[in-house]
C-alpha cells in the first residue's frame, strides 16, 4: 500500500461538517436537533413563518365556475382529506376572490399530505401580512362562519413626478 499523498484539500480522512449559515444578519437560533422532523427550541420572530401555518391554493374548473360557498365547501373537504376527520377545524382563513385557497394550522409533515390531493396547486408556509395585529390575511374562517376582510392595502400611490411619472420597468 502506498502512503497516502498529502494533497491539500483533496483527500479527506474524515469529513468536516460545519453548520454554516450563509452570511446574513439573521438572529441566531438554537440548533438543538433531537432527530425529529421538527426543529425544536427555535425562537421564531413575529413576522417569520413558524411553519405551523400553511396557505394552500386550489384550482377550480373554468368551465363550471363554482359559487363562493361551493369553493369553501371544497376547501373544507380537502382539508379533511389531508388532515383527517374534523381536519377542517384547523382552517383559520380562506379566500375566493383575491386568491383561491385556504389557510390552516398543521405541521410541515402534515402539509406534505396535501401534495397529491386533487385541485391542490401550491402549499406555502403562511406569514403575517399585518404584523402589528398578527393577522395572516384572507377572510376569517371560524367553524364555517366566514368574516370577509378587505385585502391588503394597495401600495401608496407613487408621488407624481408631474409629467415624468412613469411606471418603473423591471429589467
Amino acid at each position: 500500500m502506498y502512503q497516502p499523498v498529502n494533497l491539500s484539500g483533496f483527500l479527506c480522512t474524515t469529513a468536516r461538517f460545519t453548520f454554516c449559515i450563509n452570511s446574513a444578519p439573521e438572529k441566531s437560533r438554537s440548533r438543538a436537533f433531537h432527530g425529529s422532523d421538527s426543529v425544536s427550541g427555535e425562537t421564531v420572530l413575529d413576522d417569520r413563518c413558524d411553519y405551523n401555518h400553511w396557505l394552500i391554493t386550489m384550482d377550480f374548473p373554468k368551465n363550471h365556475p363554482l359559487s363562493p360557498e361551493e369553493m369553501v365547501s371544497t376547501y373544507e373537504q380537502t382539508c379533511a382529506t389531508g388532515l383527517g376527520i374534523r381536519g377542517e377545524e384547523e382552517i383559520y382563513a380562506c379566500s375566493t376572490m383575491t386568491y383561491q385557497g385556504f389557510q390552516a394550522i398543521m405541521t410541515e409533515q402534515e402539509s406534505e399530505k396535501f401534495k397529491d390531493l386533487p385541485g391542490v396547486v401550491f402549499i406555502l408556509s403562511d406569514s403575517y401580512i399585518d404584523p402589528q395585529n398578527k393577522e395572516y390575511g384572507g377572510d376569517k374562517y371560524e367553524n364555517g362562519v366566514i368574516t370577509h376582510r378587505p385585502p391588503p392595502l394597495q401600495p401608496s400611490r407613487r408621488p407624481r413626478l408631474n409629467r415624468q411619472c412613469k411606471v418603473e420597468e423591471v429589467d
Binding site: 499523498v5 461538517f17 453548520f19 449559515i21 432527530g35 420572530l45 401608496s156 413626478l161 415624468q164
Partner: protein
C-alpha cells in the same frame, strides 16, 4: 394663410371628426386641457397650430404643455425643436425635454442637455430634473457622472426629497455601488421611505449578488408597523429573483405566499420570476404549474421554462416547448437558443444541437456568440466527440471569462474521457490566460495521475501550492426551514456528526445488501487518485459532502418530502450511484443541483439517465 403657422399640420383623414372641434377652441385653458388628453399626433399638431395662431407661441406655460404632449407621444425631435425656439424656457421646459430623451432611450442626450442646463446657469434644476437625470445615469450605468451630479444635488439642498433620493439610490444600485446605495437609503429615514425606495434598495442588493440582504430587507419592510405600504409587484419580483440566485426554495415560497395574499399571481413579471425561482431551486413541478397558469406568454416565460426542462434533463420536452413557442410567433432571443442548446447537451441530442447551431442565424436571426459555442463544445465533449469539440473550440476567438468557460468545458470533457492530450491543451490555454488556473492545474494533475505519472502529478500540486492556488473545496448544502446547512470536505467534526455517521453506516449496509459494490469498479472517474487500499478508499468516498447532506436531510426533513441538495462541483460517480440506490431504499425523491444541472433521483434511477 401664412404657411409658417401650418408647417406642422398634417392633413386629416376624412373621418376625423375631432378636427372640427379644434378650430373652435379659443381659450388657453381649453387648449391646454385638450393637449393633456391628446393621444394622437395629429391632434397635438393641430393644437400647436391653434396655439401659434392665437398668439400663445411665446407663452412658456402653454408651450411647456405642448412639449409635454409631444414627449408623451415620443416625438422628442419635435419637442426639442420647440424647446430651442423658446425665448424663456423654465425648469419645467428643461425637465420635460430631458425626461423625454430618457423615455425614448436616449439617456446620453438627456445627460448632455442637463450639462447644457448647468452651463446656461439661468435655470436651476429641481427635484424632477435630478430624478430624470439619475434615471439617465442608471440607464448608462455611468457612476462617475452620477457621482458628480450627486454632488450638485447635495449642494442644491434638494436631497431630502423622496423621489430624488429613490432615483439616486436606484442609480447607485445599477452602477453596482451597493454600499453607497445603502447609505442613501439609510439617510432617507425621516424623509419618507416608501415602497419605491425599499424596492430600489432590495433590487440593488438582488442584482449585485447579495440576495441575503435583499431578503432581510424584504422581511424588515413586511414587519414594519409604521408604514401602510404593502409589497408591490416590482418588489416581489426582485425578492423572488434574489431567492433564485441563492437557491433558497423556502424563502421563495414565503415570497410566493406574499404574492398570493396580494393577488399578484396573475402579474406577468411576478409569475415569470416565480417560474425562474422554482426552476433554479429544483422544484420543476411547481415551475410547470406556474408556467401553465400564465395567460399571455412571452419570450421570457418560454425561455425560463425551456431552460428549466433542459437543466432537469428533459431535452425532448424542452425542444417541444421551443417549437410551440415558435409556432406562436414569439421570437426567440439568444438566451432561448442557449437554453435549446443546453437541452440538447444534457440529453445527448447531439445531432439536433449541431443543427440548431448551424441554422440559428437564418431561421431565428440569432447570431451564435461564445456562450453558444461553449455549450456545443460541452455537448460534444460530454458525448465523447472530444476531437470535434477541440476542433470547434480552436476556431473561436475569445478571451477573458468567456474563454475560461470555453476551455473549461473542453477540460472537463478531456478529463471525463481520459484524454490527457486534450486536458493538456485546455489547461495550457487556461493557465496562459490566467483564468480558472486552479481547476486547470487540478485537472492536469489528475490526468497525469490517471496515466500513472504520479511524479508529474505531485510536482504540479507543489507548483499549485507555491503559486497559492487552492482547489475549490467541495461543498454541499441543504436548506431546512429557514436555515442552510453546509458540509465541507475537511477534517473537523461537530455535534451531530455521530448521528450522521451512524445513519450513513446503516444506509451503506442496506446498500450492500442490494449489491452496491462501492467505488472499486469506478477508478478512472472517481475523484480519488491515489493508491490506497480498497477499504480506506471506501471510507473516504463514503464521507463525501453530498452524502453527509443527504443523511442530514433524511434525518431532519419530514417523511416523504423531497430532499434538495446543492453542490458546488460536478457530482461524482460514486455518489451518483449511491444516491440512486438510496432513493429506492428510503423511498424518497432526492434532487441534487450540481454545477451543471439537476439530478432527480427516484425509485432507484436518475433523470439524467447516467449521462452527465
Amino acid at each position: 394663410m401664412n404657411k409658417r403657422f401650418l408647417q406642422n399640420v398634417r392633413f386629416a383623414p376624412a373621418n376625423a371628426s375631432f378636427v372640427n372641434d379644434v378650430f373652435h377652441l379659443k381659450s388657453k385653458a381649453s387648449l391646454v386641457h385638450k393637449l393633456s388628453e391628446s393621444t394622437h399626433l395629429f391632434l397635438t399638431s393641430s393644437l400647436q397650430s391653434s396655439i401659434f395662431k392665437l398668439g400663445f407661441a411665446s407663452d412658456t406655460f402653454t408651450v411647456n404643455r405642448l412639449i409635454n404632449s409631444y414627449v408623451k407621444l415620443r416625438e422628442t425631435h419635435t419637442a426639442r425643436k420647440l424647446f430651442d425656439e423658446m425665448p424663456e424656457p423654465n425648469v419645467v421646459s428643461w425637465t420635460s425635454v430631458i425626461s423625454g430623451f430618457n423615455d425614448t432611450g436616449q439617456p446620453q442626450t438627456a445627460l448632455s442637455m442637463f450639462q447644457q442646463m448647468h452651463e446656461d446657469e439661468s435655470v436651476a434644476p429641481n427635484e424632477f430634473t435630478f430624478a430624470s437625470v439619475f434615471k439617465a445615469c442608471s440607464a448608462l450605468a455611468e457612476s462617475r457622472i452620477g457621482k458628480s451630479i450627486h454632488a450638485r444635488l447635495e449642494m442644491s439642498g434638494r436631497r431630502s426629497n423622496t423621489v430624488v433620493s429613490s432615483s439616486l439610490l436606484d442609480m447607485y444600485g445599477k452602477c453596482n455601488d451597493v454600499e453607497t446605495a445603502r447609505r442613501v437609503f439609510d439617510s432617507m429615514i425621516g424623509c419618507g421611505r416608501n415602497v419605491v425606495s425599499w424596492t430600489s434598495i432590495i433590487t440593488a442588493y438582488a442584482q449585485n449578488a447579495r440576495g441575503h440582504e435583499a431578503f432581510e430587507l424584504f422581511r424588515t419592510f413586511n414587519s414594519d408597523t409604521t408604514t401602510l405600504d404593502r409589497p408591490n409587484q416590482f418588489m416581489l419580483a426582485s425578492v423572488i429573483s434574489a431567492c433564485s440566485s441563492l437557491g433558497r426554495l423556502q424563502w421563495g415560497k414565503v415570497a410566493h405566499g406574499v404574492v398570493t395574499h396580494g393577488g399578484y399571481e396573475v402579474n406577468h413579471v411576478v409569475a415569470t420570476s416565480l417560474l425562474d425561482m422554482y426552476a433554479k431551486c429544483g422544484s420543476l413541478s411547481c415551475a410547470e404549474k406556474i408556467f401553465l397558469r400564465i395567460c399571455r406568454h412571452s419570450v421570457i416565460s418560454y425561455t425560463s421554462m425551456i431552460m428549466a426542462k433542459a437543466k432537469h434533463g428533459l431535452g425532448e420536452a424542452a425542444l417541444q416547448l421551443f417549437d410551440e413557442m415558435v409556432a406562436k410567433r414569439i421570437r426567440p432571443n439568444y438566451v432561448t437558443l442557449l437554453a435549446v442548446l443546453h437541452a440538447c447537451s444534457h440529453s445527448g441530442l447531439v445531432t439536433e444541437g449541431l443543427g440548431y447551431l448551424n441554422s440559428m442565424v437564418e431561421k431565428y436571426g440569432v447570431v451564435p456568440d461564445p456562450r453558444h459555442y461553449t455549450c456545443v463544445v460541452d455537448m460534444l465533449g460530454r458525448f465523447g466527440r472530444v476531437d470535434e469539440a477541440y476542433a470547434l473550440a480552436k476556431t473561436i476567438e475569445v478571451g477573458g471569462e468567456q474563454g475560461a468557460l470555453l476551455w473549461g468545458a473542453l477540460l472537463s470533457a478531456g478529463r471525463l474521457h481520459g484524454r490527457v492530450d486534450i486536458v493538456g491543451e485546455a489547461s495550457k490555454r487556461l493557465i496562459e490566460s490566467n483564468q480558472q488556473v486552479t481547476s486547470a492545474y487540478v485537472a492536469l494533475s489528475n490526468a497525469y495521475a490517471v496515466a500513472g505519472g504520479w511524479e508529474d502529478s505531485e510536482s504540479l500540486r507543489l507548483e499549485m501550492r507555491r503559486g497559492g492556488n487552492v482547489k475549490e473545496r467541495a461543498c454541499s448544502w441543504i436548506e431546512i426551514k429557514d436555515s442552510v446547512y453546509a458540509f465541507h470536505a475537511g477534517d473537523l467534526s461537530c455535534d451531530e456528526s455521530g448521528e450522521i455517521v451512524r445513519f450513513m453506516k446503516d444506509l451503506e449496509k442496506r446498500m450492500k445488501e442490494r449489491g452496491h459494490r462501492g467505488s472499486s469498479s469506478m477508478i478512472t472517474s472517481s475523484s480519488v487518485f491515489v493508491d490506497v487500499d480498497e477499504e480506506a478508499k471506501e471510507e473516504i468516498v463514503s464521507l463525501h459532502c453530498e452524502r453527509l447532506a443527504l443523511a442530514f436531510g433524511l434525518i431532519h426533513l419530514p417523511e416523504g418530502s423531497t430532499i434538495r441538495i446543492m453542490n458546488n462541483l460536478r457530482m461524482c460517480r460514486d455518489c451518483h450511484e449511491a444516491f440512486k440506490l438510496i432513493s429506492g431504499i428510503v423511498e424518497r425523491e432526492i434532487v441534487v443541483r450540481d454545477v451543471n444541472r439537476f439530478h432527480c433521483f427516484k425509485d432507484g434511477s436518475c433523470t439524467c439517465r447516467d449521462f452527465w
